[in-house]
């Protein structure tokens, strides 16, 4: 009898064990919450075509890709980031290898997903023209530097003018240096000397100087190029973009906050007959604006520019702290959107250091951190809070 009872007890225990075995499993995964964006931001750069973003802050660098994956490179983990000079930073991006190139003086840093490489460029470039250069990325994502490598004066010319010759350097780090250089016969007269500006389209390279050259081949060491005939006065075309209609657009001067540009340069490739597309005539800005200081986005049809505006007063709710002009390159139209402040997040409009546009959001780098202004809702939120809310929603 007692044996049977034990049998029952045993089978009951078995039942209990079976029932308590209904264990569900759940995984909670960490996510990146880059506190470094809450340190002063001095650079915010977006590449809207690739939907990527780079933020340079006192605490480090944050990169964000089209799939919303973010990578934070903090100064504590990468001390080299502390050597970036905030006043001299250039950022380029290649979608071909998902790599950001950040150049600060002679320091070159590449950021790919989860990986950072840095190089100190100690190359002895041609000294007399050391301030005349440009960096650009080829379509396969390799950094190029365009500069001058030599000056030749012909004593038979009867003048004091000489010729400066252009060099194309391709970034190929090796034991002997960082660059693989091609010295060309393309020259610029000393009285017309200007900083070269370059842009790639496929294998072709356009070097915009005075005169400009269309280089169709240089990689084999043999340079095939033709001079673009000029029909009007020379205009410098800074940060050029090469659109699908073979028209080059760029700026008349190096853009920077507090140093506005007044026009966009349009340069048809077939004949160098540049035009200045004057922004203020199309966009009739408010009298108090500093002016357009940054191109946020280029397309074949339009240029989106940020127009700086600030006062030294405390901001109030819905006060305008900047404008976005969407300028029609073909028809000269202008669409104006204002950026309205949040007095708690941005008490002083002059705290804005840099801006970048991605989709419908304006990323605003300030002295106290990164803010996001959403043009759809006309609201301003801290980037980190926005990110946290998105992740935990």
């Amino acid at each position: 009898m007692s044996k049977r009872i034990w049998k029952y007890a045993f089978s009951s225990a078995l039942v209990l064990i079976t029932l308590s075995g209904c264990i569900e499993e759940k995984n909670l995964r960490p996510f990146i919450l880059p506190e470094l964006v809450n340190t002063p931001n001095y650079l915010v750069e977006s590449f809207p075509g690739d939907s990527v973003l780079l933020i340079a802050a006192e605490g480090g660098i944050l990169t964000r890709y089209a799939d919303d994956r973010q990578y934070a490179f903090t100064v504590s983990n990468y001390p080299v980031l502390d050597q970036i000079d905030p006043t001299d930073v250039e950022v380029l991006y290649s979608g071909a290898n998902e790599t950001f190139w950040l150049r600060s003086d002679s320091l070159i840093i590449t950021f790919s997903r989860e990986r950072i490489s840095n190089y100190r460029d100690t190359t002895a470039f041609y000294r007399p023209t050391r301030f005349y250069f440009d960096y650009c990325l080829s379509d396969d994502g390799v950094l190029h530097r365009i500069d001058y490598y030599n000056e030749i004066w012909d004593p038979q010319s009867g003048s004091f003018l000489s010729d400066y010759f252009l060099a194309i350097h391709r970034f190929e780090p090796s034991g002997s240096g960082l660059w693989e250089s091609v010295e060309t016969e393309l020259s610029v007269r000393s009285d017309l000397l200007s900083s070269p500006n370059a842009v790639f389209k496929g294998d072709e390279l356009l070097i915009l100087t005075n005169p400009s050259y269309h280089v169709s081949s240089f990689r084999s060491g043999e340079v095939v190029a033709e001079e673009i005939p000029r029909e009007s006065t020379f205009d410098q075309v800074v940060d050029p973009v090469w659109n699908t209609d073979d028209v080059i657009y760029g700026l008349p001067s190096e853009p920077a906050f507090f140093s506005p540009f007044d026009a966009i340069i349009e340069l048809p490739l077939v004949a160098e007959n540049s035009q200045r597309l004057r922004l203020e005539s199309a966009c009739s800005p408010s009298a108090d604006v500093i002016g357009p200081v940054k191109v946020l986005k280029w397309t074949d049809q339009e240029a989106v520019v940020y127009v700086q505006y600030f006062t030294n007063q405390l901001t109030t709710a819905n006060e305008v702290v900047g404008y976005i002009y969407t300028y029609g390159l073909k028809d000269g139209s202008c669409d104006i959107n204002s950026v309205q402040s949040d007095p708690i997040l941005l008490p002083f409009s002059n705290a804005i250091r840099d801006v970048a546009l991605l989709n419908t959001e304006l990323y605003i780098g300030t002295e106290s951190g990164l803010l996001v202004y959403d043009f759809a809702t006309l609201t301003m939120v801290p980037y980190l809070k926005n990110l946290f809310d998105e992740e935990t929603r």
């Binding site: 009951s12 225990a13 079976t18 308590s20 909670l28 880059p34 980190l384």
Partner: protein, 270 residues
């Protein structure tokens, strides 16, 4: 819906255990005529029994994970489950049991309604002891690097449970007539938990702020051994969740939605 699935599973499993009860056993142990009886209010006295029970330091629960706490370190947010957990110093329970179906005089299927009051220490916490607060972090604080608000003290005292269980009862206590001294019950059902009963008013915690964390359902099963009028029971949560998470680069795991209670009860009447 899930508790009912468990009940059906329980019944199926119990069904497979019945062959242990042989015909010979029924006759030798009980020696009575076979028959089926269904619950009837006319014979309420014979279809009803109740128990009074006590648990001392043997009553623990954790709710399902009810919130997530984010531990932020070096630019990474590590989510951790937050659950309502209670430790019963002393729990009293009263349990009416309605015999729905009886088989002869030695087996029955009953509907049990356990009602539990527990003097317990209740908190809303993570495995590492972070006391989760329903207060939200202000934007200014968030920007200053404060990502969560922590309470200073426990959430409150005491908890209540009300449950519904279906039990299969054998011998002692299974029917009104049975006089065999030993008995066994196996049951499964759900408990509705309410915790805490008393919010920590000294710290000023308001129930309305923590409403979403103070009540939940938990599926349980129970094994009871009867000796005459004394019942020893162990109740266990049958649908725990094993939550894997990372904490500052170490892999961790914690069970939530658990329930454990040993209790000693005295049957009132037969």
């Amino acid at each position: 819906m899930r508790p009912f699935v468990h009940i059906i599973r329980l019944l199926l499993i119990l069904g497979s255990a019945l062959p242990f009860t042989t015909h010979a056993q029924k006759e030798t142990v009980l020696g009575l005529e076979g028959d089926w009886y269904v619950f009837s209010l006319k014979h309420f006295k014979s279809s009803f029994r109740h128990e009074l029970g006590l648990s001392m330091f043997s009553h623990f629960y954790r709710s399902p994970d009810q919130a997530i706490h984010y531990e932020v370190d070096d630019g990474i947010a590590y989510p951790q489950p937050v659950y309502n957990r209670g430790f019963g110093l002393m729990s009293l329970h009263y349990e009416p049991r309605f015999r729905l179906i009886e088989y002869r005089n030695w087996a029955s299927l009953s509907l049990d309604v356990p009602l539990v009051w527990s003097l317990s220490l209740v908190d809303l916490t993570t495995e590492d002891g972070f006391r989760y607060s329903a207060d939200t972090v202000s934007t200014a604080a968030f920007n200053a690097g404060i990502f969560a608000v922590e309470r200073e003290t426990g959430l409150g005292l005491g908890h209540l449970e009300a449950g519904a269980m279906l039990s299969i009862n054998l011998w002692q206590g299974a029917t009104y007539e049975n006089t065999f001294p030993l008995g066994l019950s196996i049951g499964a059902g759900v408990h509705r938990m309410f915790a805490p009963v008393q919010m920590n008013f000294i710290a000023g915690y308001e129930r309305v702020e923590y409403q979403e964390f103070t009540a939940w359902w938990t599926p349980v099963s129970r094994l009871s051994l009867h000796y005459r009028g004394v019942v020893l029971s162990y109740t266990i949560g049958v649908n725990p969740t094993l939550v894997y998470y990372e904490s500052l680069n170490s892999k961790r795991a914690v069970y939530t939605n658990t329930y454990n209670r040993f209790s000693l009860s005295l049957r009132i009447g037969r």
